[in-house]
Symmetry: C2
Subunit: 127 residues, 2 copies
Amino acid sequence: MKEPGSAARADSEEWLDRVFHALSDPTRRALVRRLSAGPGKVTELAKPFDMSLNAISKHLKTLEKADLIKRDNAGRTSVCSLDAETLQHAQAWLDQYTRFWGETLDSLGRHMKRRTGPGRSRPAGRR
Amino acid sequence: MKEPGSAARADSEEWLDRVFHALSDPTRRALVRRLSAGPGKVTELAKPFDMSLNAISKHLKTLEKADLIKRDNAGRTSVCSLDAETLQHAQAWLDQYTRFWGETLDSLGRHMKRRTGPGRSRPAGRR
DNA sequence: GCATCATTCAACCAAATGGTTGAGGGTTGT
DNA sequence: ACAACCCTCAACCATTTGGTTGAATGATGC
């Protein structure tokens, strides 16, 4: 079901759409933060927020569709918990860009000749 | 003008809103990818895409407002380049959650019974 | 069986998003 | 001066988003 690692071809970046979109909302990030401290029932998760339970339910659904959380349905309550694997995949995506820049800023900057190679990254020789 | 590190108030997560939102669009991610290989003029950047130049201009503006790119205005052309620092800040945010889970998956994973209890799994780093 | 709690579904709304086209506004070249 | 070029601004449109309320579903408790 999850394709971050598997069919990661040009088409299936869709999951990144969902993940980053899910993370672009402060309420949902707050939910992620809360869930990072342990699972919780929906009503419990909703309590701190100044909006209807339904709103939170929708936010959780958004997070779920992004595979950022999973639900454990136990009777009449459903317990949500973080699925950090997806978070890691998102981070891995960012890593493609931040890593190279970390190097550039650090040490690579000076002994980096302009590599006009075919595919590989070429450090922006900026400013 | 950038507050990722400084005023970490509840409100100022706004920049994360912008960054993650900016990254939630495939066109904009493609632009980021392209820019990671070096700066480029707007028309040049727009060429590979199947949409109007104006659309790309707007996407670039979104990326700019998120501090993900910066513009260098040279005469009638404006050259965009990646500002990976912001990308790094976003990654740092994710790191709060993925780091702790990396551990969990690695070592903690096996002696970790399914903790469906309300107890809590493992205190993730707060803040 | 019936009321109640926990959660989701459905309809609705205002606002934002992603795209279009068309009109400018500077810059450059002749 | 003038046309061509690069890019942004403005208006517009369809669709999505984030929120609301109200009803429906389903498990629990009396």
